[in-house]
Subunit: 425 residues, 3 copies
């Protein structure tokens, strides 16, 4: 980029914003009359902008970027997702926007922010924003596959949001780090900024705890009966509580120092209970079952940070926030659980909620059998992992083009390249 | 003030609290039966106390004062506003208090907190509190003018809250800084505390993002049909998202350093979309129109910080938070938009919402014409700017009296004069 | 504890989590159909995990522990409370869980977190967790006494939650500090970590303000008519606002330095208005009465920090957060008020709400008289204080057993013994 043009480097995004405006003028209108409020919208909104944003402030010198890019990405993606996710159900070339669509756009932006977590600190701003635009298209397509082709039950989005976002991110990470030259730093040795400070770990807790608090609202927002809503809230609450207790006990057991807690576990593995229960939270898993899922997810996540993240790093997949441990593996766990729970669903237990939860199972027995539904749940999971990881790898290679301004090694995990920083601090 | 009496310096406010208690005993009672909950109340409450409070913690050594005075002012003003705003509609000398009134008192306190943003760091505690008491009286009177005399549509309060608060603040700033003697510091050179630290910019983001998140709730809280509510939420959401993308792109273009973001823009101009859409958010501006307004407001706000704030400072108007760029100019933009949108409103498009939004336009055509309504919108805006800026100047001159303890130059932007500070940090 | 086993020190809690899972499998099921949402749940959830957690980050080197143990304790207690609090009303050995039960479990966890506030920084992790498990059993029993035996009106839980938690904590503090040997530190002099830093006081404000904001939701969540709900919100809002103004004015008057605010008062005494109005907030105290209660509680609380906390410390009761001033004394005030207000309740004023608020007073006059109800309110308060303080003392002595790993003096108020800390900060 020419020095004089560097101020203009984000102007392509502004042009994209102008295009979005024109698309909205042409294709959208306000939705018809709605007599009920969309529950879960405000709480989910907090999760996206405060939750994800502050969770990623744990890096000591990347707080501005974590908060800023989280905001920039999500503000762009929600607009773009409103169009993409309604593209497949447009009538008369018109998209009717309701508050429910805003909620769904927020949920879709979570996908991109999960991917951001994998790339945090070593992808440039332009790389992140281009990835976000592509990922939204692929993610909305995959969401449509899961919902309308596989007709999978996935009310909390563990398959279509969490698994998708995590494996798209790991795919992009593989591509971005593939045979990357590590330029040795000249002059003074580079300080490793890939770590927390005392204060940054505290601000990260703002994000972590708000995510934890509103997760029951997130998982239950798109349920379609009062009883299913209540089950989703209860199951998510219990799974999160059990994952939290488990995380603390196992963190002390697997820490480096004797019997101390590791903040990385506490900020992340505590949340795995929300992911792991996501696909099944509106089903009849029982309060005890929800707790069992929470315990399992806490163990998976802590062990993931201890063993899997270092192993991935060896094969060239950097995962700064450990999204594989918070979103990826717990989501796979949830997808497999959903196959099993669906396969054993009966009209006797589910009553009128049976068709509400499993759209393709008819109450009169004319649709899928429970076993078939279980198979489709599994296929939706496998399909999502394939689409997201392949999509991530391809997108990752595209953004290695010089235009996107790949960071030098000494610019990583640092706000300095992107922000005017206060002098003394 | 005599040294021994200095501990008593806030006791006049306690006496005012006692007077408030007596007025409540005499004039208030609980409101009648209400079958619905008041939506938007809790979210607005977060905006006032967390949003405004933390947004103003961006100054490195004024965090306690920002949070403390925000809280002190708002807690006083909500009580005082409950009385003032119902003064004009009292029956039998009794004010019936409902949850809706609490919401309206919170909204009125926003006016005072916007003014506080202009005076942040250089007005003393007693000055701020006295200004708050006067401003509440004038602000409630102006609110009554806008709503009941001009009958202007202003559901998000851009005219009666944002423009009023900003120009009252600039007026007070002009008066406070008029021919002020700048005493040169003796001994060691004064450190300039009018700036951020790395941590204070992060805590400011808590406020900024919470304001952003709940702005759709704020703008839509006082709508009076389900469809108007939904439009207000959608329009505010889209305007904010577009303002955010615009702010990031333009901040990089207009920053001091090459292509970097300026935290002042990110914390503030992102929110201008909420202000600019405020007066028109329940109208049929279309989703594309909402995005256009957001884009415009982001540009206005970033350019305001770059060019207008330094120009105002030269003529003696200090605006610490840049409330003119976040609240003032975007609110004027919103008021002018509301005149245009109102003037083109038709029964065909608005249906039963026409009278709900424009109280003075009757569905049977007996009231104002759309063009007349547009004129009244404009008059409400002009009147508000005149009342607020004149009120601000007068109040500003009053609080220059010695009793209010004007700060010395080396006490500015510093918590030290007001707080017991921890020793080592 | 053997060095090799120290990693396993929290595994007993994991075993307890496994036991909880089994109890949930055996005893619980989803509750029946509910047509309404449980109001106040999400807001209360924020208070418990963000509010209490961040309020206790005021200590400069105990932020991780404050947030971590708050989370660990509450996640454990909510599960345990769900069983304990329904134990007395079980039918067919089955507990039906609804969203309302989740709210009540959150409320019960407040009790334990108040106790945590008294012991903050000098009780070990295992001590805190064991105390939490015992306190939940005793607290749920006491709650049942207050609600079903004394049939006391206590909608905001001032008696059963705030007084209980505070005096259980002071009891445990007495036991933990009784004839404790203070080992003089060897080598370098110990730094006193029992104090705030500039940043930790700011993060504490996150907790304080969120508690303040959502307190009206907390106090009103369990009301059982629309009018009672609205009164509870209005009274709590006004009491908090008045307590806040009072706290600022009196803090400046009673501070150590001339006319400055003390952050300890601002973070805590502002909230006393929510406690003091808790037991009576759904009653006809009038808006003026609510303000009077707020003023009174602010004064009690500031004077408590100034005079009572040092006096308690002299007799061996350490109260790190001053829970006696925020929860204890204001709750006693509320309990006494509730006796007086109940004794003067009449059918004429209360109408159909009379029986709704005072379960034991029948509308046809066949139940208790108002005077009798007042007596029972008082007895509920006295009984709670006795049960909690005796329970606290006994539990405190139990956790002095070596197994619970009492902290050495130089480990107090320090995250170091419990957390892997970042190197440079």
């Amino acid at each position: 980029m020419f020095p004089k043009l560097i101020r203009m480097k984000y102007m392509p995004l502004f042009l994209f914003q102008i295009v979005l405006m024109m698309l909205f003028f042409v294709f959208t209108t306000y939705g018809g009359d709605t007599n009920h409020d969309q529950r879960g919208y405000e709480d989910t909104h907090v999760m996206i902008f405060i939750g994800f944003g502050f969770l990623m402030t744990f890096l000591k010198k990347y707080c501005y970027s974590a908060l800023g890019f989280n905001w920039f990405l999500a503000a762009l993606v929600v607009q773009w997702a409103l169009l993409n996710q309604s593209f497949y159900s447009m009538k008369n070339n018109t998209i009717e926007i309701t508050k429910k669509h805003l909620l769904e756009a927020d949920i879709m932006s979570a996908t991109v922010l999960i991917t951001f977590g994998a790339l945090l600190g070593y992808a440039s701003g332009l790389q992140l924003l281009f990835i976000a635009i592509i990922e939204t298209v692929v993610g909305c397509f995959n969401f449509w596959l899961v919902e309308h082709i596989f007709k999978a039950a996935d009310v909390g989005g563990s398959i279509a949001i969490h698994a998708f976002g995590a494996y798209f991110g790991l795919g992009a990470s593989l591509a971005l780090n593939f045979k990357k030259k590590t330029v040795p730093s000249e002059g003074a040795p580079t300080v490793n900024l890939n770590g927390a400070s005392y204060v940054s770990d505290v601000t990260a807790m703002i994000g972590s705890i708000f995510l934890w608090i509103y997760w029951p609202s997130f998982n239950s927002a798109l349920t379609n009966s009062n009883m299913a809503y209540q089950r989703a809230v209860i199951n998510t609450y219990l799974s999160l509580a059990a994952a939290t207790v488990t995380t603390f006990a196992w963190s002390a057991a697997f820490c480096k120092e004797k019997g101390k807690f590791d903040m990385v576990h506490i900020q992340n593995s505590t949340l795995a209970g929300g992911v792991a229960v996501g696909s099944v939270c509106n089903m009849f898993i029982g309060p005890g079952g929800a707790i069992a899922i929470g315990i399992g997810s806490g163990i998976i996540s802590v062990l993931g940070y201890t063993y899997v993240t270092p192993a991935l790093e060896k094969i060239g997949i950097r995962d700064t926030c450990g999204v594989n441990n918070l979103h990826g593996m717990p989501a796979v766990f949830s997808g497999i659980l959903s196959a099993g729970v669906a396969a054993s669903a009966t009209l006797q237990v589910y009553g009128t909620d049976l068709h509400g939860i499993f759209e393709a199972i008819a109450v009169d027995g004319s649709g899928r059998t429970a076993g078939e539904q279980g198979l489709y749940q599994f296929l939706a999971l496998v399909s999502t992992i394939v689409v997201s990881s392949v999509g991530g790898v391809i997108t990752g290679f595209i953004v290695r083009a010089p235009f996107f301004g790949q960071l030098k090694q000494n610019e990583e995990y640092d706000d300095e390249p992107n922000w005017e920083l206060p002098g003394a601090h």
